[in-house]
């Protein structure tokens, strides 16, 4: 069956730069999809195209099997009925909280009594019902963010697009708002796309995660799948950072082994022999005595306390690797650590 929201071959040039390169994306009905990518990767451009705030150069956008944009069709923004939460909130400063939320309903010609009820419901859903008569400049940043969300929820759109809505909120409030936004969206059964450049936020805010880079979707899937099985070095690095070593995979008697200089690592099976990059995360390393294989040795060149453990930079041959260590280590101290084979991801080397 065709996906509910489908973007096919979307291309867009902006200011002489190709921002989107024939991008494909699909979202199922009722699903919350996070799109994660560095700034300039085309995330915002993508959702602006879906909303109709700008037009693609080529491609097609369809919702529920019907095209809202292609070479011959262009349903205008005001008729797409898509909710949008802006990074800077974009709440209208000359309207009260209630007027902001009621505006779209009024534009749709809804009767006064229905409107009032729906406004109240939307404000209650984000816990700011008591602020209905205030003006936006009398609200805190978090309250303005809730207002922006309530405004886009009130019209009960089938699709809500969120453009880094929490990037202007302080860290403590961000965690709380994440949960609230997600539950409000799920409660309404709305499909949503959530844009962010923050990986922990992206993982927290979705059913499925898509990683975008340079105008292309690199990988989509369950957040854990992307974290455990990154399809490229970029995905591995962008999702939490990883050590990478370039070498070769050799398979003997069905056992795959990655070799780079003195470093020999057993890796999970099913891998074709040949040149390869091996990627593993600092948090997957363990002291060597905990594991009977994949031992690496080196000397500590720096140590930083990061809360649940120490993060060490360790010189192993001619490369520096990041290792999480249960205790303080002295600079210059020699240590031995190991990486479980199932945490070593091998990737066919890219051009870079």
């Amino acid at each position: 069956m065709a996906p509910w929201l489908a973007c096919r071959g979307l291309a867009k040039r902006l200011g002489g730069k190709q921002v989107l390169h024939g991008l494909d994306l699909s979202v199922e009905h009722g699903e919350v999809l996070s799109i994660l990518g560095p700034s300039g990767s085309g995330k915002t451009t993508l959702i602006r195209l879906i909303a109709g705030l700008s037009e693609p150069d080529a491609g097609e956008i369809a919702i529920a099997g019907r095209s809202i944009w292609n070479a011959n069709t262009n349903v205008p923004v005001e008729a797409r009925g898509v909710g949008f939460v802006f990074q800077d909130y974009a709440v209208w400063p000359h309207m009260t909280v209630a007027e902001n939320v009621g505006f779209g309903l009024q534009m749709a010609g809804m009767a006064r009594s229905d409107r009032d009820r729906q406004v109240r419901e939307a404000l209650e859903a984000v816990h700011i019902a008591e602020l209905a008569r205030r003006y936006p400049d009398q609200l805190s940043g978090g309250q303005q963010q809730r207002l922006a969300l309530a405004r886009s929820l009130a019209a009960k759109p089938q699709l809500i697009l969120m453009d880094e809505p929490l990037s202007n909120v302080d860290a403590a409030l961000r965690e709380q708002l994440r949960t609230e936004i997600l539950s409000a969206i799920h409660a309404q059964g709305t499909t949503a796309i959530y844009i962010t450049h923050d990986q922990s936020e992206a993982m927290a805010m979705c059913d499925r995660l898509a990683l975008i880079h340079d105008g292309r979707i690199l990988q989509t899937g369950d957040p854990e799948e992307l974290y455990r099985r990154p399809a490229s070095l970029f995905v591995a690095n962008f999702l939490g950072g990883a050590n990478q070593i370039r070498g070769t995979v050799a398979v003997t008697n069905g056992v795959a082994e990655f070799v780079a200089g003195s470093c020999r690592l057993r890796v999970a099976g099913g891998i074709a022999p040949g040149p390869s990059d091996c990627v593993f995360r600092p948090e997957d390393t363990v002291p060597a005595y905990n594991l009977d294989c994949n031992r690496l040795e080196g000397s500590v060149i720096s140590a930083t306390f990061i809360g649940r453990c120490w993060r060490l930079s360790v010189q192993v041959d001619d490369r520096i690797l990041q290792v999480d260590w249960p205790a303080r280590a002295k600079i210059g101290e020699d240590i031995a650590f190991a990486v479980p084979p199932d945490r070593c991801v091998t990737l066919v080397p890219g051009p870079s």
Binding site: A51, N74, P76, F84, G104, M110, R151, K156
Partner: protein, 596 residues
């Protein structure tokens, strides 16, 4: 389950919306373009064509062929050449002196602990809003052989002689135009902040060295901009040229254009070629202005920065305050006092004695059906009409431009700023050519009527209003407008529900600015004077010219009071009303009220 808003609320109808909108947009764009061409493009175009086809509108020999005769004539005729040289000389000197005064004023206000700062900051605005020719006429009252200063024994004869010559013109222009330099330089100083200077001090420079090596080079582009703006104002000025300069027989280009079109025999070819030379001069200035604005340092210092620590003046504090106060007194308060006194005196020469006091002139100015009162009411009415009309046109044009491409916006803004530089007298000449001479237009019964004068006023005021409204719309985050579209607001709803409330104060500022400007607008009033009677500015200048300066002063005073009262009331009501529903971000948005 409540109603769900999906992407296909209107089905086919939705898809028809864009093409319908586009048709409306095209019609509107065409109408807006036509208005712009009619008001500004066509008049200027005709001046240009006529400069190279001197006999174009000659009833006997026209249209004739292309020739450089008129241009050559205006560059060889003794009086014409004198007028050009006079204009450039006056422009150069007055721009220098006004820039220096403006710079000093800004320096004192921005960087010292001078007293009475709020009151002193008001002076440049008052100077800027009172018409130059009224202040010039007031100075004549003060400096005349039996004028007020002579009566109080405050006027050495040398000074008096000098005043009625080039030095006097420079003096009056300097006092009239220093606010422009003040606005530009004070803005740059505020943007410059104290960091650069403090960094220099930390690096071992003395306060004086920091100023010479750091602040002055950074402020140089702003100073140059101020010089260019004032030079353009001086050479384009008609008010002083038609009053003070005319009385002392110091021929200036703008007045020369006027006499060529009004004195017998009318010489449109000469007027046109002189107008072209004037425009060429201003074009050079405008090009310099554009180049300066592209300077990096100008952008560098426009960022947010910490205000500099004010310098303690110590013992000199009172002296500096008095000097700054004196500038204000000379530039605006003393001239206003002179006009007020003259309005209440029978004659100038008999002085301020009880016997010489009279209510007659002031009563005439407020007596219905008296010529002075009729002119005043005519001007107030026409100005109100002009202001409202200009406001609506500027709003619609700005809204259309804002939605258009970035390039178009840049072009229109450039044209608008360019048209601000077009002297009123040149635009007026263009209007005569179109509505009195051009076949098709001359047959319409508009020339010599008040509707044409209103059109002229609109053409002269529109660029200012457009710049104010465009900059206000430009300060609205595009997301606010996009958010409205996403909530189903169409074009009209976005304009009336989002844009208009957000820019209300700027829009009102633009309308009031055009109103005040139009009540005292001289060149258009002179060249497009309706057959049924003159508007106030024309009558005022005429009364002063006919030694009827008592009534002239009374009319000026009443006009100033009426304008200030009506504009003030509207501004007061408007700020109250707007404040009551709009609360956020408006303060910043309203910051921009300067037209240039």
């Amino acid at each position: 389950m409540t109603e769900v808003r999906g992407p296909f609320r209107g089905g086919l109808a939705d898809r028809l919306v864009p093409s319908g909108l586009k048709l409306g947009q095209h019609v509107f764009s065409a109408a807006a373009g036509a208005a712009f061409v009619l008001l500004i493009g066509l008049p200027l175009g005709l001046i240009l064509v006529q400069a190279f086809m001197p006999a174009l509108f000659d009833p006997n020999n026209g249209p004739g062929s292309v020739s450089l005769a008129a241009l050559a004539n205006s560059l060889s005729d003794r009086r014409s050449v004198a007028a050009i040289l006079h204009s450039m000389l006056l422009g150069g000197i007055a721009a220098s002196s006004a820039t220096i005064l403006g710079f000093a004023y800004a320096l004192v206000m921005q960087r010292t602990d001078v007293r009475w700062r709020p009151a002193l900051a008001l002076t440049p605005w008052l100077v800027f809003l009172t018409p130059g020719y009224l202040k010039a006429l007031a100075w004549v009252l003060l400096m005349a052989p039996r004028g007020y200063l002579a009566q109080f024994g405050l006027l050495p004869i040398v000074v008096q002689h000098a005043f009625f010559g080039l030095p006097g013109l420079i003096f009056v222009h300097t006092l009239n135009l220093f606010p422009l330099a003040y606005f530009i330089v004070a803005g740059a100083m505020a943007g410059l902040g104290g960091e650069f200077e403090e960094a220099a001090r930390v690096a071992g420079a003395s306060s004086w060295q920091a100023w010479i090596r750091i602040n002055m080079p950074l402020l140089a582009p702003a100073v140059a901009l101020a010089f260019l703006a004032i030079f353009a104002e001086v050479v384009a000025d008609f008010g002083m040229a038609a009053t003070i300069a005319r009385t002392i027989n110091f021929g200036l280009l703008t007045y020369s254009i006027y006499t060529a079109t009004s004195d017998f025999p009318v010489d449109f070819a000469l007027a046109g070629s002189q107008a072209l030379l004037l425009l060429a001069m201003l074009l050079v200035v405008l090009a310099g202005d554009r180049m300066l604005r592209r300077q990096r340092s100008l952008r560098l210092i426009s960022g947010r920065s910490r205000p500099a620590r004010p310098m303690r003046l110590g013992a000199a504090r009172w002296a500096v305050t008095c000097v700054v106060l004196l500038v204000g007194i000379l530039a605006v308060y003393l001239p206003l006092v002179a006009i007020t006194l003259r309005a209440a005196c029978r004659t100038l020469g008999q002085g301020l004695v009880p016997d010489n006091m009279t209510w007659r002139f002031l009563l005439q100015a407020i007596t219905p059906d008296h010529a002075a009162n009729t002119a005043l009411l005519r001007s107030l009415g026409l100005a109100a009409l002009t202001a409202l009309f200009t406001g609506v046109v500027a709003l619609l044009l700005a809204w259309r431009i804002e939605q258009a491409s970035k390039l178009l916006r840049q072009v229109v803004l450039l044209v608008a700023v360019g048209t601000i530089a077009i002297p009123g007298i040149v635009l007026g000449l263009g209007f005569i050519l179109v509505w009195d001479r051009l076949p098709g237009f001359r047959d319409m019964p508009l020339y010599g009527t008040w509707p044409l004068l209103v059109l002229g006023y609109v053409a002269a005021g529109l660029p200012y209003a457009l710049v104010i409204v465009l900059s206000a719309i430009g300060q609205i985050s595009p997301n606010l407008i996009d958010a409205a579209r996403l909530h189903g607001a169409g074009e009209t709803a976005r304009l009336t529900r989002i844009i208009m409330p957000l820019i209300a104060l700027s829009l009102i500022t633009a309308v009031l600015f055009v109103f005040v400007r139009t009540v005292f607008e001289l060149p258009m009033s002179e060249v497009l004077e309706p057959a049924d009677g003159p508007p106030a500015p024309t009558l005022i200048v005429r009364l002063f010219g006919n030694d009827d300066d008592g009534l002239g002063s009374a009319l000026s005073l009443v006009a100033i009071l009426c304008t200030a009262a009506s504009a003030g009331c509207i501004a007061l009501i408007a700020t109250r009303l707007v404040r009551s529903f709009g609360r956020s971000g408006l303060g910043a948005m309203v910051g921009m009220s300067r037209a240039r």
